[in-house]
Symmetry: none
Amino acid sequence: MATPNIVEVASLIGDTSRAAMLMCLLGGKALPASELARAARVTPQTASSHLAKMVEGGLLAQEAYGRYRYYRLASAEVAQALETLNSIAPPKPVRSLRESEQSKALHFARTCYDHIAGEVGVTLTDKMLELTLIAEVDRDFAVTDNGAKWFSNFGVNLNDIGRGRRHFARQCLDWSERRHHMAGALGAAVTCRLFEIEWIVRIPGGRAVRVTHNGLRGFKQELGISLASINTT
Amino acid sequence: MATPNIVEVASLIGDTSRAAMLMCLLGGKALPASELARAARVTPQTASSHLAKMVEGGLLAQEAYGRYRYYRLASAEVAQALETLNSIAPPKPVRSLRESEQSKALHFARTCYDHIAGEVGVTLTDKMLELTLIAEVDRDFAVTDNGAKWFSNFGVNLNDIGRGRRHFARQCLDWSERRHHMAGALGAAVTCRLFEIEWIVRIPGGRAVRVTHNGLRGFKQELGISLASINTT
DNA sequence: CTTACAGTTCGATGATAGTCGAACATTCAC
DNA sequence: GTGAATGTTCGACTATCATCGAACTGTAAG
């Protein structure tokens, strides 16, 4: 027989830095340690210490891809516990209107390390699957014959990126949406190209990106994607 | 838009002494400060400090009767948050045989704030679903026409409890069974009635409850529930 | 091989906060 | 009134732990 130990879990959540990381992960994505360190505004050493404790405590799960360590919430129950805690937490006054704007922008489109994520990232990946440019293979995506032509036409040289030892096109799981977006070398190459042809541009001071008018038209013409006009000016 | 402050609440729960007090109060009763101090094995001064912080943080409510100060959980939401945290907490090894006995009793039947939980609570809820007395609706339960008759016959007046602002019949995740049991106003009313007709009685000194012989027969006759004979003497 | 980068481990430091002794406030019993 | 019991406030001590600098282990890139 065993009695659960609520103190350990609660004290893990009850730290400013760790809570900041958990709130980031509550979106559902798995994030590398460095990004979580940045989110919590602490040094990598401190973040590493916190992450190890949360894995030990059963709050987080860790997956290693190359030299990166991706962390995600260990289970749906953890996410629910965080939400429930939020529901009884006394509201904290907003610091600024800018924060709200930034939050919207982040949900819409952002970079996840070096590839595109958010609503745009997920929609893009979904459309590529729908048009059979790519196909799901285990935990990765594979490029179809169809897709090879498309990527070439789009300006992404598959030969260049197939050579590296990095994962070719990893699936990046999004919990809240329960959908994947494309990561890995191909995801990075596509995102790089999106910046190159200026369909997207970085919003200074964060991970958020903005879809340009060019991008709106391009996504529509090349892939049949209709994006809401939020943050596209 | 206000961002809730999860850190404060979690750090309040994440202390050994405070958690011990909260676990006591999870039984649903209001307790005086001295008793909570005893439960947490700290001096009255220390307990007073903790209690003040938890009231300030919105976890507890205080009522003064003469020279006594009674403390209780501030709301059903707080109780649910505690139960949810329990469900993700890693099991802690038991220290003594007595704890093992208490743990068994807790797993079998206990009060969760003001409604019945544990194996009995989950089985009761399951059976009500099976007999279509209630039905799942989102994260709540709804009473069917069938059920309305049954509850009335059982001695629970649905009109009385439907009026309040409180959730009518919330689904509450059970940490020991990892399944849902019925909470909210209806759960409280049913449990209150169970005490009234003495199908269950409190085991002194904790949250655990005991199913009486009357209760055993009643559960069998009224709902077709066969409970193991544990703790029913 | 060399350089760069991601992440961890170790050790020292500093601040937060839990704890209790002492004293005070309040209420009840006599 | 006096005395006892409940509970709180104040101050000091102490232990825990978050934090960061420095050094180290891998992995990727050229």
